[in-house]
Amino acid sequence: MSEIITGAEALIRSLIAEGVDTIFGYPGGAIIPVFDRLYDYRQQLRHILVRHEQGATHAAQGYARVSGRTGVVIVTSGPAATNVITGLSDAMMDSTPLVVITGQVGSELLGSDAFQETDVIGITQPVTKWSYQIRNVEDLRWAVARAFYIASTGRPGPVVLDFAKNAQVATMEWKGYKKCHFVRTYEPNPDINIADVETVAQMINQAERPLIISGHGVEISGGEKELLNLAEKAQIPVVTTLLGMSTIDSGAKLFKGLVGMHGNVAANVAICRCDLLIAIGMRFDDRVTGDPGHFANQAKIVHIDIDSSEFGKIIKPDATIHGDARKVLALLAGCVAPAQHDEWLADFDRAWQVENEKVIAPELNSTRRITMGIVARHVAEAAGKGAVLVTDVGQNQMMSARYFKYTAPRSIITSGGLGTMGFGLPAAIGAKIGAPERTVCFFTGDGGLQMTVEELGVILQYGIDVKIILLNNNFLGMVRQWQDLFYDRRFSETQLVNPNFVMLANSYGIAAEDVETLDKLDAAIDRMLAHKGAYLLNVNIDPEELVYPMIPAGAPISTILLNKDEKYEN
């Protein structure tokens, strides 16, 4: 059965055939034909009208990260296309599957500086996994199928389809949709070399102080259970990257903390003391390694990743396994011998004691002022199991990530690689849409919230239940922290004169309250969580509060500041 339909209609049918149920978008001149067809498919495709195209991409990222499904964005050409660049870059850095469809002027106008024309393919190539311009309606199904296949498989990433207007209105014979399962030049599911697995299993068996760093790849592959199986069988302590924090339950006995610049002392110290470092689904970001020349030099390094171009990019590995993290972990768990590392596991205690005493206790036991740590911990405890943390970028991000509790997979959504201020609000909206049954706790700062604050309109229009915890110090806190520590307290352009956030939220129909003092905090958190619908807590934070521990940028990871006066001494 075939019929003659337009390219715009074919796009909508193709999206439905790919299992898409939600689109984040914004209409405009060069994409109107697609939005026109969308009107007839409102029952099958939920379109979320954002307020700015950047918001569409971050919302799609939040949706994708929480659900594991591909986030879909449809916007117009020109300024809309340039507005999605930040989201594309962010998704590229944090391996997030997106298909972003941009309208484009008709092919006959390409290259003529037509109204709202921009070289989308040229601009997006460096920040996408793949991009393709559909100039001919006959290419459409092929391009859409390929886009979803490439975005969602292997190491996921963003794909752009630049859809020329002539191809949207041209007609074609619709013969049904065929998903893509193979691209000759691309292998997303490499066969795992068993010899490599055996080599690594031997290395694990021989190690006295093995350490696993679990990254985002473990989450993407759904390998949380396999990770725990391997760790428990061989009694290997697990530390995580920021994006890998919910790959293991925060309460697990073998979980030893977060690595990196604001990570846990014990986790960073362990990197300097282990004899075997097993890095899984992570890419040795400089916020993790500090000075790479001083990173785990004493240890043998095993790197496991689906993206072989990561091997040796930053840290030279002694052994590698190329493949899907979940599959590799399952194979390794089958190969390694059961082991005990009691002495090694006890080795973490001292650093934890020091961090508890010098950093965590002062943060959480404050009786005078509200600290960011108290807010994060109390929200986590009150929100209970299964809550999702979404963060913006900066102090709010580091503090909420550190003090939140992760009890389920896919529970932390944060801009790790790109560090995009303004990521949080739209990402939280997308996360709630992707996981409506979960409580979404969005921690932000007064700077980052205002970068995409227009998306409050989406909460209003669609009644999205996002709990917004604004850690408000009237400063760009993380920059201020660096100015405080490294720039002689010259607070250049970091102070903000802010609006009344409660009134702002109220004007969008969002319940909100100010929290000025510590004794009012818990009741306010309870009100927020009990409230049906979105809620904003504007929490008054001391601008002098700093995120510790801290490894100064570019320093060896053994250089850990505990506070302004003390360094960790091993």
Binding site: I121, G122, Q125, P126, K129, W130, S131, Q133, I150, H181, F182, V183, R184, T185, Y186, E187, D307, S308, S309, G312, K313
Partner: protein, 191 residues
Amino acid sequence: MEENNNKELFTVTVFSENRVGLLNQISIIFTRRKLNIESLSVSPSSIKGVHKFTITAYADETTIAKLVQQVEKRIDVLKSFYYRDDEIVYQEVALYKVPTAELLNEKNLEAIIRHHNARILEITNEYTVIEKTGHDDETTALFEELKRFDIRQFVRSGRVAVTKSPEEYVTMYIEERARRKEEVERCLNAE
């Protein structure tokens, strides 16, 4: 200008699908790593539908090895390799446009052409075009020699190269991918 200290000349070959925009994708990988492309040539390969890029750049081996990995990561790229000069047979073509009047006064023109194994492509009253195929040092040597005749135009092509290896890795890879495709299709049909 940056110094080429500790750097050597590598020839990078890239085999790709014939798709618009690939040159940009490949060249930005060089740019991002501050590698200057010394020469570039693009042509069809011996395999139908597969294009071959031959690029030369000064770099250290670690950098070029990582670059090749990043190039290969691009979706439409089949394979990428890097070589030192002793692993490949390579050539470049140079053209020299010289005023004919200047050449007419030269008694040893034949000796120059013969010595450099060059040839004359076109002679008009105004100008003569000489062609020389060879390595960079050879085309440069002829350039030096012709300088005194007031060279009006000079151009050298990008390097083209084939490997000395008896193994044809790209062909093998394409065969392997064809088998993989069959395997994937078998699995899908079985489902």
